[in-house]
Amino acid sequence: MKLCTQIERVEKTVDDFTVGPINLEIELGTITALIGNNGAGKSTLIKMMMNLVKPDNGQLVHFGGSIKTSEHWKQEVAYQPQSVLGCDLLTGNQLRDLMAPWYKKWDQEMFMNLVKTFEIDLHKRFGKMSKGMQQKLNLVLALSKNTKLLILDEPTANMDIPSKQKLMNILVDWMERDERAIVIATHHVDDIKKLADYIVIMNDGKLLGKYEKEELVYRYKRYWFEDALGIEKIPGEIDRLNDRLLISNDVEQTDTFLKKNELKIMQSEVLEMEEIITYMLSGR
């Protein structure tokens, strides 16, 4: 698959907090979910990807060109920040008029369809819209830019449930139209479950890893035992309850050990994505 973004040894220190060094590659045709606790450095990483925050070290490349030395990459990268500054007095129509001419592939038909889908009043000033409506308008503007890479920072944070559902379908549809990529920073498990191909986990400014979603789902397992285990530590074990319930992050090793030691499993199941993420963020 073609690369759209390469992040190499990127590092940024602000006061006493350091993000990085981060190495990450984003491929076209994939959706990458960026997850982590509040203050993990997700937004800083995204802002570095947009050249809004300048890395102290390392280099960031979009579509083969360093973001430091040119501005051409901005044509191919759309960004939806958590909050938008400076356009409170502009109406939806004015924002469209302001943005559209700068994007060569601006899709006016898509813009109008999405406005209709989300029932956005384009005559209303941005500052007078509710947080949810502002977010919808931002998304519509970002999608209509028709870029190859879409970076979304908490896109569903203020959205109502039906709109979230619509957005999922729109993003899937948007991906199918061309060879594109989405990077989405989110706390919502539904976003990850329905959209992500890859999950990138950040904790305390460090990138813990990039995982294929499916691989991650089958890496973790919960076991119930008929009898108390009575064994100190089982390979892969990351959590244990009442000596009869065990969580493993290395199913292969755990299964081999259980078979070898003839420990009777009453039941086993894969973990929910939310549980997996919670374990991963706590370093297990």
């Binding site: 602000v14 300048k54 901005k74 938008v84 007095l89 700068w102 994007y103």
Partner: protein
């Protein structure tokens, strides 16, 4: 030229919401011009400092006060101050050069007609000023003050790109600004036996051509310097918002 046209097109999005502010400036023009016109005879005799202060305020800061609060330089995060619309434009694929030019155009659209109107009203309704400065000399006097407005005022659009401003830094800027104005107001009468405005009247009368040329060059150099500064600064600054 195309870049200036694009910059003007971009500035219209902000100017659309500035009609009220421009009317406010026109409204302020009446009392400001009235004071400056009525007081010129006694100023020419006594060189009282209040007149100089008023002149500095009109050509230094008056135009920028009227801007809508949404478009003013403001705190946007912790110790980060910037003009929010400039930060917003920085996220779009608009060449920085055009964003920078649009900021300067907006400032000039606010300030230049206002400054020019003050000078024209003073000259039209102040016979004493007409007696002191014939037309050519008055043009030189006007160019000196329009140039001051451009040289000093260029700091405003240049600062729209933002800066990390701590309380200490803010206090330092205020001290330097007030200190230099105070020094200017006291040093000029002490050294030349003229007030600040009186000195520029004298310079414009004695050397109209030279003072005009220097004023135009100073304005050009200042705008070029601050535009370049702003562009480079935007490339270095971290926008965490």
């Amino acid at each position: 030229m195309k870049r200036w046209q694009q910059a003007f097109w971009l500035s219209k999005f902000e100017l659309l919401h500035s009609k009220k502010s421009i009317f406010t400036l026109l409204f302020l023009l009446v009392p400001y011009s009235f004071f400056l016109t009525v007081s010129i005879p006694s100023y020419l005799e006594e060189h009282f400092m209040l007149y100089d202060i008023f002149f500095l305020l009109i050509f230094g800061v008056a135009a920028i006060w009227a801007k809508p609060k949404e478009y003013q330089y403001q705190k946007i995060a912790d110790d980060m101050w910037a003009q929010p619309f400039t930060v917003f434009l920085n996220q779009l694929p608009i060449p920085r050069e055009i964003v920078v030019r649009s900021r300067f155009l907006i400032y000039f659209i606010y300030s230049l007609p206002f400054h020019l109107a003050v000078l024209v009203i003073m000259y039209s309704f102040g016979p004493e000023l007409r007696q002191t400065l014939p037309p050519l000399e008055f043009i030189a006097f006007s160019l000196i003050w329009l140039s001051f407005g451009i040289c000093y005022g260029s700091v405003y659009p240049a600062s729209d790109s933002g800066d990390k401003v701590t309380n200490v830094k803010m206090a330092f800027y205020a001290f330097v600004l007030l200190g230099s104005f105070t020094l200017l107001l006291f040093a000029v009468p002490y050294l030349s036996s003229h007030g600040l405005v009186g000195l520029t009247i004298m310079v414009a009368s004695k050397w109209p051509i030279i003072s005009s040329v220097i004023s135009i060059i100073a304005a050009g150099v200042s705008v070029t310097f601050w535009m370049k500064y702003m562009k480079n600064h935007m490339n270095k600054l971290d926008y965490f918002q």
